[in-house]
Amino acid sequence: MARPTSVVDSSPDVEAREADSTNSSQTGGVLGWADDRLGLAKLGRSGLLRKVFPDHWSFLLGEIALYSFIVLLLTGVFLTIWFKPSMAEIEYDGSYQLLKGLPVSEAFASTLNISFDVRGGLLVRQIHHWAALLFVAAAFVHMLRVFFTGAFRKPREVNWLIGIGLMSMSLIAGFAGYSLPDDLLSGTGLRFVDGLIRSVPIIGTWAEFFVFGGEFPGSILIPRLYMVHILLVPGLLLGLVAAHLALVFYYKHTQYPGPGRSDNNVVGYPLFPVYMAKAGGFFFIVFGFLVLMGGLFQINPVWLYGPYDPAKVTAGSQPDWYMGWVEGAIRIMPNLESHWGPTTWSWAIFLPGVGLMGLLFGALAVWPFVEAWLTGDKREHHVLDRPRNAPTRTALGVAGITCYAMFWLAGGNDIIATRFHLSLNAITVFMRVAVFVAPVIAFIVTKRICLSLQRSDRERTLHGSEDGVIVRSPEGGYSEAHVALSQDEAFALTQHLQHEPLAVSSDTDDAGVAKKQQVGRVRAALSRWFLGADVQKPTVREIEHADHHGELPEVESSDDGKPQLH
């Protein structure tokens, strides 16, 4: 039943009226339009546009990787317009005369089509390949920078792990892309992967049949790799890159030690306009260099290798550089294989292939947590370590690089043998030893260098640096005066925190009741190994003592600006 409408005495203003427009009129134009709909101006409150980034060349390494990735996306989209990911056999009928009429796969034929018949296709293909190499290289060097400066420490452990994920994804992306053209070299690479997958104990054969859709090479691998290369891995990479950058933004960038820099601030230039110009400009520089490389330096000339033929291989077959160390490990591994009953355990392939990659990424992933465990350090760190001030970490890093380099060199043992007229067998045997011995030597040498640099820092802080003027005394002796460091420099050399090695903690509480021991003997010993050798930096008293007791000759500037002795 209808109810009577209620009647109000005073009617509201019913005249049509425009929405309050004060908001948009203040900012006006496009900005106003956008803010009315997205409310982005609120972000200004957190200082978004003027967010401060510190400046250092080593911070560009990650940027190179990022920009190479963008170039890869751009050039990759172009290549997909013509590339045909199919292993179907056709007769090549393009403009490269030397292969005319030969049976090749569609993938190989379309790669030649891009290289010879699409104008600019070769340029884009070569940019894509160079960018892929640069991407992985820059990511590796960026990771080393982060490692050696301790930028992985709290609170950035999560971003370090994301970085490890990015690194492994980029290797997969690179390898899948390398395999797509179906030329002799990439087919040889796939043959190796087939052997590698097969070598996995218990599930190897099943994995092989699932990946290749049956026996090697089958007919479906390249379409599958294409999906991995252009959809699956780039998608994951994009997500991880976004997370990686978001965290950099969120934490604010780390900075090197220096006057006015502390864990509580960040010193540098604002995002807008300085960093936008610098970082944006740097994108164009990286892109420009890659285009020049694509134009001037030949890479992966698949027409010279020819189509894949499982009965052919060329001497000097090498993978792209980033797989070189695995290749090396495979080459120098002694031929271990167990035949237990009717089964075959192919250690000679499984251990260096699957095991070594797992070891590298596993060790990298746990390192931030291991180091925190060794130092007992729970502080946040936003000021970077100078590598010398973490001698054991630096030495471990250099040992790791050395080990990697030895494996990598072993991956080119045939090239070394022919170029330097050495015995291939001797090189291989040498490398088997070198991968173990060289890192130990590198560790010892690096640690000594770090400690010497610490000693030199201490010396310079207390006694100043030599002024570069040799003075001959009336007696004929020579001496060189020392100039006190500026406070800026003295601060930069001494601001770091030196952790004490952990001491074994009591396993009983005050009342003598047993409790969980915080630091056991093993942990204390490892902590001593990690931290114990540090050269103590000068104390406040030592610095005062050096200043007051004339250890440092007083210096004043003369008119021509040269320091003179009294």
């Binding site: 070769l122 097969r198 420009g288 260099f289 291989v313 080459r331 192919s346 601060f491």
Partner: protein, 354 residues
């Protein structure tokens, strides 16, 4: 933001020299000298002005340079189109970058600014708040009173993954024993199959081979195959046929009739990861794989003498047929190529066998 949420409470903890604060700002030459500033300004403008010129040059090269024109100049032997496009395009892009950075370095204000950091960690109140919200949610969900709900939904979700995983079971045929025997454990070699030279595809006769010579061969039945099948078989069937002086090699008793007066046939597929082995050392009878340098002694039943391969090269028993051509006596007696888990490697030839 409040000041009590700094990353560390004691930023001066380790300082033995007092923090002198940010360095004094030093004016750049482009700030101090008007001429220098203007020169930097002009340089940036010139770099940006060159970009359109290069872009036009790029377009001209794209349309004007013939696709087959080659540059042959010093170390550069390359497609003229590729070099032209790369040089003009690359330089154009590079100049944009250099100009932007020069602008930032020389002309934008270079006063450093300081921003305070804040600890990522939330303060105690926030943590308590979120814990309370979570507790409220748990309470509202009713799982405290009906605890089986949680286990049930977890289990259901877990089981729902199984169909998704099973969906992938058709990614490839399942290598059960029967399938393995028909695929990776066999090749198309069989009794009476002719050995064809893989260059001219003509059948081999013993007299074609002189002592020390090595020829790559394929089974004649390979020519009947096409496409995928052809590739799969070609990845397993290649052999090397080599003639050595019977007096200078060791032929075990069990393999005495596998050869024809010093002509032996071995699988060409490396037992390491499956590369086709190629490099023949005539004097030593060694065959070296160019991929990982495994070396096999063809004068000693294909045993490994160096490198990462663990098993001898499978030998193919051959003889001469009525017409005087080399033919296989059977398939290989063991699977060829790289090891796999289910491979029964007890029948392979090992050192000391006879």
């Amino acid at each position: 933001m409040s000041h009590d949420n700094l990353p560390v409470k004691d930023p001066d903890l380790s300082h033995v020299v007092a923090d002198p604060g940010i360095e004094e700002h030093i004016e750049r030459f482009t700030d101090a000298d008007k001429g220098a500033g203007n020169r930097a300004y002009t340089a940036v403008l010139l770099m940006l002005a060159a970009v359109p010129v290069l872009a036009i040059a790029f377009v001209v090269i794209y349309f004007a340079v013939p696709r087959d024109a080659y540059i042959d100049f010093g170390w550069l032997h390359a497609s003229a189109m590729n070099v032209g496009l790369g040089a003009t395009g690359g330089l154009a892009v590079l100049l944009i970058g250099v100009a932007a950075i020069q602008w930032a370095r020389a002309l934008m204000g270079d006063h450093e600014s300081v921003e305070e950091r804040h600890s990522v960690a939330s303060n105690a109140d926030d943590r308590a708040l979120i814990a309370q919200q979570f507790a409220d949610g748990v309470e509202q969900s009713g799982v405290k009173r009906r605890p089986l709900l949680l286990g049930a939904i977890g289990g259901a979700l877990g089981f729902s993954v199984i169909p998704a995983v099973v969906l992938f079971a058709d990614m490839g045929p399942h290598p059960v024993k029967k399938v393995r025997r028909e695929t990776i454990e066999t090749t198309i070699w069989a009794e009476e199959v002719l050995l064809l030279n893989d260059v001219n595809w003509l059948p081999l006769r013993p007299e074609m081979l002189e002592v020390g010579q090595l020829v790559n061969a394929q089974p004649e039945t390979l020519l009947e195959l096409h496409g995928t099948e052809y590739m799969i078989e070609k990845a397993k069937s290649p052999i090397v046929v080599v003639r050595m002086d019977p007096e200078s090699i060791r032929i075990p008793e069990s393999r005495r009739d596998w050869q024809v007066s010093g002509i032996l046939a071995y699988s060409k597929i490396c037992t390491h990861v499956g590369c086709p082995i190629s490099l023949w050392e005539r004097q030593t009878h060694h065959l070296l794989c160019p991929c990982h340098q495994s070396t096999f002694d063809l004068g000693d039943s294909g045993l490994v003498v160096f490198g990462p391969a663990a098993r001898a090269l499978p030998q193919l028993p051959i003889r001469v047929n009525e017409d005087g051509y080399l033919v296989a006596q059977s398939d290989f007696t063991v699977p060829v190529g790289p090891s796999f888990f289910e491979r029964d490697s007890r029948n392979d030839f090992v050192k000391g066998d006879n």
